[in-house]
Symmetry: C2
Subunit: 286 residues, 2 copies
């Protein structure tokens, strides 16, 4: 009998995962969602091998369950279905906060493993109609295994990552993940929305180039999701935001002092850091 | 006899322009640079129809001269060659600051036209080896004509823009250009270098996704060029930076207040602005 991977939540990420996982080893991909239009879209577009609205009917038969819900939804689902998972099952998720999710997974019985997962991929859109199987190609995948997670489960996650086309897999703690993501992801979103709050936004059309589009792309964010993510990681986010405010203020003051020599030195310092940071990553030069 | 477009400065932008302009109507494309390696590269790769280090020999025969130098270099070139341009010639440039350049063009005799030009395209690299003819495809091109610029010259610039593959051409004043560009371009560069000044930069490898790459890409900037650009537009840049600092601080304070309702409202406001701003530009959704 085929083994089963059940993806709960067929939004942008869950839908893309289901598409990308089709054909993975000998697994059948089952999609679960509560929305009828989403299920219809998934069925019509072959997003999974089969789809259902009835999580209770498929969770007990799933070898792997991927929770592609918002953080609070994941915690709720784990609590509601804690006794329905198959003994020996691997449960994982895709969400951008790991301490809250790993704490929520404590409700699971000891024979059900949970490995936190965060694929560093996505777009500024939501919903299954924007899902695409190539989403994870060349992106990082971060895992936060439990101390008790089995090597077999970790190896399974790594094979799934390879099937998704991920560039590499990093394993870390939930705390380290959340501290790092405050800088590399959450702060980028706060910058993007802050730039879009400027009074010039609408009048600047026709004057924007790739740097503006690159910086502000993610401002069109999923408000509910990001309210949760920011709220669950506030201390780490405040720490990096305060450093950003200092670093911006330092550039501002150097500009105001009209000292081209100092400005040039500062720019040389920052540009060299950026070049050094990118060095081993030729994909970053694309 | 063929008419001539002379591109002075075969760096990233000038080299890309020369490549992209080849085959434009019945013009011969002549490339000028002071660097022998650059000229050799240009000759070997067919960057222009012919190349030379001797600007003085080709300027008098040029129907169009495109100055693809740094701002101070443009001003110096205009001053040095003011009496060498052909009567009726059109001189233009490619640089990201227009007030300084248009003021520098005042030295030209009245029979030589100058139309400021800023193609909103580029990469974070420098030098002819990174030049490519598709650079300007789907980007905006901004013109700052003089009041005395002839309709024939403006039409010629528009035909060149179409040949480059530009999406559209905007005409504005040097002052309006510089104020707008402080927001859409210069501020993006200050953000990028400030983000790269964070102590976490090198340790975050493996945790960065497309939002981080999109925001910080331009931090690897050409230090000499951007020192000039920032120094020539400081008041406008300070104005938008001060608004950014306020908007970031407002998000920071909302986060610190741990009020999810207010945070959600703020995010909804900013995200809606971003979506509204992008609406008529389907290319922005790519």
């Amino acid at each position: 009998m085929k083994k089963t991977i059940t993806v709960v939540g067929l939004g942008l990420i869950g839908g893309s995962l289901a598409i990308a996982l089709r054909g993975f080893e000998d697994y059948e991909i089952v999609g679960v969602d509560v929305s009828q239009p989403t299920l219809r879209f998934a069925a019509e577009h072959g997003v999974a091998d089969r789809v259902t609205e009835d999580a209770g009917a498929v969770i007990p038969g799933a070898d792997v369950v991927i929770l592609a819900l918002h953080p609070r939804g994941i915690v709720r689902f784990l609590s509601e279905y804690r006794d329905r998972f198959q003994p020996g099952a691997l449960v994982t998720d895709v969400c951008g906060i790991k301490t809250t999710v790993m704490a929520g997974a404590e409700v699971l019985p000891p024979e059900v493993d949970f490995i936190g997962c965060h694929p560093m991929a996505g777009t500024e859109f939501s919903g299954i109609e924007h899902a695409f199987g190539d989403m994870f190609r060349d992106s990082h995948l971060i895992l936060t295994p439990r101390e008790t997670s089995t090597p077999a489960h970790i190896a399974l996650m790594e094979r799934m990552a390879a099937h998704l086309g991920c560039k590499d897999v990093y394993k870390t703690t939930p705390e380290a993940h959340d501290a790092m993501i405050a800088y590399t992801s959450q702060m980028m979103h706060i910058i993007a929305v802050s730039v879009c709050d400027d009074q010039r936004l609408f009048s600047c059309k026709g004057f924007e180039g790739s740097s503006f589009r690159g910086c502000t792309r993610v401002a069109a964010l999923d408000v509910g999701l990001w309210t949760e993510l920011f709220s669950m990681n506030t201390p780490a986010l405040l720490e990096v935001l305060d450093r950003l405010l200092e670093n911006l203020q330092s550039y501002r003051d150097t500009l105001a002092a009209a000292d081209a020599g100092t400005l040039s030195q500062k720019l040389a310092y920052s540009a060299a850091r950026k070049r050094q940071m990118d060095l081993p990553g030729p994909d970053l030069l694309a």
